[in-house]
Symmetry: C2
Subunit: 338 residues, 2 copies
Amino acid sequence: MEKLTIKEIAKLAGVSPTAVSFVLNNKKGVSEKTRKKVREVIEKTNFVPSLNSRRLFFKKSYNISLVIQQSSSPFSDLFYYEITNGILEKSKEFGYNIVFTDISMKGNSMEIPNIIKYKDTDGIIFYQDTERAILREVDKLNIPYVIVDAHSTSSDFTSINADSELLSYTATKFLIERGHVDIALISSSYIPEYYIQIFTGYKNALEEVRVSISPYWIQNNAFNELSAYNCMENILKNALKPSAVFCAGDIFAIGAIRCAKDKGYRVPEDISFIGVDDIILSRYIEPALTTIRIDKALMGRLAMDLLVKKINGESVESIILESDNIVVRNSVKNMDCS
Amino acid sequence: MEKLTIKEIAKLAGVSPTAVSFVLNNKKGVSEKTRKKVREVIEKTNFVPSLNSRRLFFKKSYNISLVIQQSSSPFSDLFYYEITNGILEKSKEFGYNIVFTDISMKGNSMEIPNIIKYKDTDGIIFYQDTERAILREVDKLNIPYVIVDAHSTSSDFTSINADSELLSYTATKFLIERGHVDIALISSSYIPEYYIQIFTGYKNALEEVRVSISPYWIQNNAFNELSAYNCMENILKNALKPSAVFCAGDIFAIGAIRCAKDKGYRVPEDISFIGVDDIILSRYIEPALTTIRIDKALMGRLAMDLLVKKINGESVESIILESDNIVVRNSVKNMDCS
DNA sequence: ATGAAAGCGCTAACAT
DNA sequence: ATGTTAGCGCTTTCAT
């Protein structure tokens, strides 16, 4: 059997390679008769054109790379896994391969993945806030990218973010509506802009019902489950106990709840908790966590939309997702009917 | 600035493209002097050779695709995410892109992903047992593949599996050593061969201490959390209650425990549970689940090793991983010191 | 050791 | 509408 190329198909169909190429790409310039004949031969031979040739000709890799940071916690993986599902969905539509890449640390700094170094990607989706050094490198290489869940915004890059302030406001407001007034906050100050948003939402909701906040109740050193546990310890050290805690992330809530239980508090009878994200885990802990759901698959789909537009040279704007979808489970006590 | 190609570099260095190519690929046939000069130019210009050209020349895509089935449960995703980490680790070493693909259903049958249809992949790693129709199609296309966590073995394909019988034996034996004699089984009969292994391990451990088993205690219709819940209901319908249940998968255990609690049983005081897999969730439920850990990252690394060998034309053998690493948490009661 | 040239399989400009 | 041809950027064979 002859090696199957466009040339060979042309020979079999008794036409020129150009004709075959036109048929394959649904271009006009061939008669219906020729088109049909070519289609028959393609069908019969199961011919598929070589993507590698097209890659060379168009100088495109048809790869989009997902760059995820080697995470400290498997739960950020979980969060991103759901985003990835949205991306995959769209990738079929656009005809790109989705290539998984993780940024590994080389000593103290991040190492540029090979797929980027060798420009073997038409675009990049970064997960989570990404080191500026890396972004600059990518800018230099002239590869379009978007950042999903950047936690910060900037005119320097295109990002898809949840509206943290709204999220925070919604969560706090929910607690207030359930009769809570003494509400603590566990958040992260790692990304200052993010922290401000969270704090602002919390504050705006709270100032409608409360004039002062105990500084003990504002904890901003959480970055994973364990540190959230410690934050909760700090909160409980104070004589004034809050009746509810808003945690800016389900995984923080999970750590904080564990702490409260360890210290003998009942949840939610003694202290209520609300989170943000709705990671899969939240349904399974006890009590099941009340939280604000972020539509992560949607974030993924939007990221692809924006990135493909950028690849095609269109200009795009960052997106802020307004998620305020409260998932009511069992971690918040209703103070009004106790 | 000139477009950077091997030709351009050659011009700048005052040598032939051949020389540059040799230097890039660390081949001999160029003098040290030439080599050095070329290296300098490459360094100075930040030149990287075009992968797409090499793709065409070598007829290789440098892609390895991961094929995951659109799963009913996000927890199988979780399980596979850990395998993926092992695969990614190895991919750097071997220089392949890891491309994510999921098999979507088209009506009643699976649809071959484009990356396979267009032979845009040098090899495939299938996650989980895969429809024979798909495997045959891939065979026809002559693309090497391995199956990780196939749950069945066959001389038809190369797979990386945990030793289910050993897993099952170890779990049951552990319960026996804690003084349990009345031990039920929740498993899946979806893949017969797998079921036989699980049952055999269970039976072999059990027959050392028990002459008869109540048929009510053998439940084999679990395939997710909910069905495992139903299996547990069936077990509890019987007048004879087991003191422990071995669940052939953590997610089954999670469903079963929920059922037991719903019916007012205390875990592990009234009934003990042990699982298999050690998915991330198992640490977080209450009580934290005692389980047999499978080293999923290792499975991923081994899958890559085997696949790359296959791609290189070496012959390989399937691997059965002997995992019997018991992770003791709080879901099994010690009957001897009660 | 070095360089010229052919060719991987496709697309598109150009001529007919 | 159809065919001829050059060229994408690399590797390798074959002269020198």
